[in-house]
Assembly symmetry: C2
Homo-oligomer: 97 residues x 2
């Protein structure tokens, strides 16, 4: 039971929340993530960009009811990374022998 390194990209509260949401939902726009995470828009914007640059999510910028709309979806790579993170961190949470 070693301490597997934790993906630094996912080991962040907001980014982990984003990915966790997108894994369940498979499609979520900026406001959805904003509301669900309780983040600020600035922080959300930054972290979405980072996840996108890492290839963990895809970002589709379009319009909805005349307003800009940023739709995010998790990628296969993102799912894999999330699953690996979940498996890894469990090694840290074991209290029992």
């Amino acid at each position: 039971m070693a301490f597997t390194p934790l993906d630094p990209l996912l080991h962040n509260q907001l980014r982990l929340a984003i990915v966790s949401l997108l894994v369940s939902v498979e499609e979520g726009d900026f406001n959805f993530l904003l509301e669900k995470t309780g983040s600020t828009r600035g922080n959300l914007s930054v972290q979405i960009t980072k996840l996108k640059e890492a290839g963990y999510i895809s970002v589709n910028k379009g319009y909805k009811d005349n307003y800009p709309n940023t739709a995010c979806a998790i990628t296969y790579q993102g799912i894999r990374a999330f699953e690996a993170y979940v498996a890894a961190i469990k090694g840290y949470l074991n209290t029992g022998a």
Copy 2:
């Protein structure tokens, strides 16, 4: 299933590993933690200090075989914090509905 804030002190790979180890062992010295975590001494020293200042662990500096020996043990407060962290992060790891 909201996203409970994660204790920033525990949401760090090395500190989480330290606390996780001490929860199981109830007594671990510097070298024990060094070996188990695979950390560097510098980083370990810093994080032990932070955990101590937060009251999550107690640090007992003595000597063992003539050499300095830093014995660490988890406090009640540390156990509580760890348990809260474990409960909190599980809210981020749930993939299923």
